[in-house]
Symmetry: C2
Subunit: 333 residues, 2 copies
């Protein structure tokens, strides 16, 4: 068996977030679905950027945020994703490596620019995302390093990878390698509209055992089973996945295994500034707990702690050491 080198290896779209505050009217005027993620082409990206107010640029990407969170907990982390060899690509690479994450995917020398996600943050802290995939679309199975995947306790994949055409093959290759090495494969459903685009394939990934651990929020889970009733969706997912963690914002989360359901409370937050990254960071904490062999409830508490840190400020990457916060809270020693 390959020696363990990583607690979590993530594969996802490598994206720089471009954030601006906006009123709800702005979303309406630009035909955006509040709280959702829309894929946009270059002309639409330019139009949205021109209309946005003062921006802040921060490295993002769902799985990348999660992996930075894993690194912030002091766990061993790696990330696979494609940027272009341009200034925003350098920012992405700098920031993920600054979090002590191994990041070796070769940047694209040609073709579209590094991916950007234009995020409008409304006064309630909710984020509405518009993603220009750019260079992230070029991720393909050749970018999957067999040895690195086999050396990771958990390989973590974002549902958004189903959008770029070749990335899903990279995803499937990674899952196969991980299982051959007797490792765990985790998937986040990413977004209710992403689930809507790929429902049949996501269910097949779960039912075939291609993924062992599923992260979803309430809207994603309901979208997966096309039901408005939360309990119906929970019952359905219990039959489809070995382990599912359902996040429910301020209501905390449910950890759903074949036999049991455990509810864990959210960590109170003084003031919600920007919810971007809440789910990503929850997944980070949970997987760190899992990789350390902690009980599911403790893992969920680590997730809630990380989510609370990230929604207290602008941007989807932790500003404080999650390891230090977890020690203060008595969750890690």
């Amino acid at each position: 068996m390959t020696e363990l080198r990583y607690d979590v290896l993530g594969i996802g779209n490598a994206i720089v977030d471009v954030l601006a505050r906006a009123e709800d009217d702005f979303l309406l005027a630009h035909d955006m679905r509040k709280g959702g993620m829309a894929l946009i082409d270059e002309p639409r990206a330019e139009a949205i950027y021109a209309a946005m107010g003062q921006t802040v640029e921060i490295s993002g990407g769902s799985a990348a945020n999660t992996i930075v969170g894993v690194g912030s907990f002091g766990a061993r982390a790696a990330f696979v994703g494609r940027v272009k060899d341009d200034p925003l690509g350098s920012v992405f690479a700098h920031d993920i490596r600054a979090a002590k994450v191994d990041f070796d995917t070769r940047p694209a020398a040609e073709g579209p620019a590094t991916a950007r996600c234009f995020i409008l943050v409304t006064p309630d802290g909710e984020r509405t995302m518009n993603t220009y995939l750019g260079a992230a679309q070029d991720l393909n199975p050749d970018d999957i390093d067999e040895e690195a995947i086999a050396a990771a306790a958990i390989t973590y994949l974002e549902g958004y990878l189903w959008d770029p055409p070749e990335a899903k093959n990279a995803f499937l290759k990674a899952a196969k390698i991980a299982h051959e090495a007797e490792r765990t494969v985790a998937l986040t459903l990413s977004d209710a509209f992403c689930v809507d685009r790929w429902r049949v394939e996501f269910l097949e990934l779960m039912r075939s055992g291609t993924v062992d651990l599923v992260f979803a929020n309430e809207a994603e889970l309901k979208s997966l089973y096309q039901t408005a009733d939360f309990d119906t969706a929970v019952k359905a997912v219990r039959g489809d996945a070995a382990l599912t963690v359902v996040t429910r914002s301020e209501q905390g989360c449910l950890v759903v295994s074949r036999e049991t359901t455990a509810a864990v409370k959210a960590v109170p937050v003084g003031s919600v500034v920007d919810t971007t990254g809440a789910g990503d960071l929850f997944a980070a904490g949970f997987m760190v707990g899992l990789a350390r062999g902690l009980p599911h409830e403790t893992a969920a508490r680590l997730g809630a702690l990380a989510a609370a840190e990230v929604i207290g400020h602008l941007g989807a990457r932790p500003e404080k050491s999650l390891d230090a916060l977890a020690r203060e809270a008595g969750l890690l020693d």
Copy 2:
């Protein structure tokens, strides 16, 4: 007389800030003077960036921050400064125009990249700055549009302009045009170490009447007169400038004219996150008040209000509408 088109026109270094949190040890290890601004060359810029943690990129530049503040108060604003035609230059141009500021300086097609300021924010909220001037160094007298300067009630210049070789000639040209049009010329001393580099020339600007209004913090004023005694410095500046505003962090400010000194309190801040831009935004509020013909004390209160907004979050540009905040506080109607 030229018709008034702008309340304030600012001239300064066009810079994108690259911020990261750091411990005091990091400053020591990298030989940085806490709270100061150091000019750095490209190799040093690369070394600092490589050592910095997770970053956030936000448009900055001292006078540019001030002018965005002026725009946020709903006043008419313009900015002159040089970026390169590169992605960070586009971010700078987008962000200043998003604040409804006129920005027409032609970007450099060749030569060094858009200027960056690497800012380390320590746990006490203090910022330590390292500036790579890049394309900002190319600002020269040809960039000064005579009509625009003559149409601005106040032309505002940053002391940092004394660092790039040709910018000081742009500065002097602008001051001459402004005075010929019977407008006001304002100068911020920028930084105690900047004052140390250019003390003789700054004093000459004041004594010759090239500038009418001076902004300084306590450290800058003491540096200007090479004294450790604040009262001595205040007495000296009264003789050298028609009007001086001295900011003193949580102690508020002093408005010093030939005959009188008025003290105005600071606006209390819940939690100081990042002091970057406090002085810049104070100047914005004060000049908006001045341009509206309000008493000096009211102008100073507008300055204090703007400074309080910007130190409550990361970055040196206001996140909330200063106009709305000033109306809520009953300072503008």
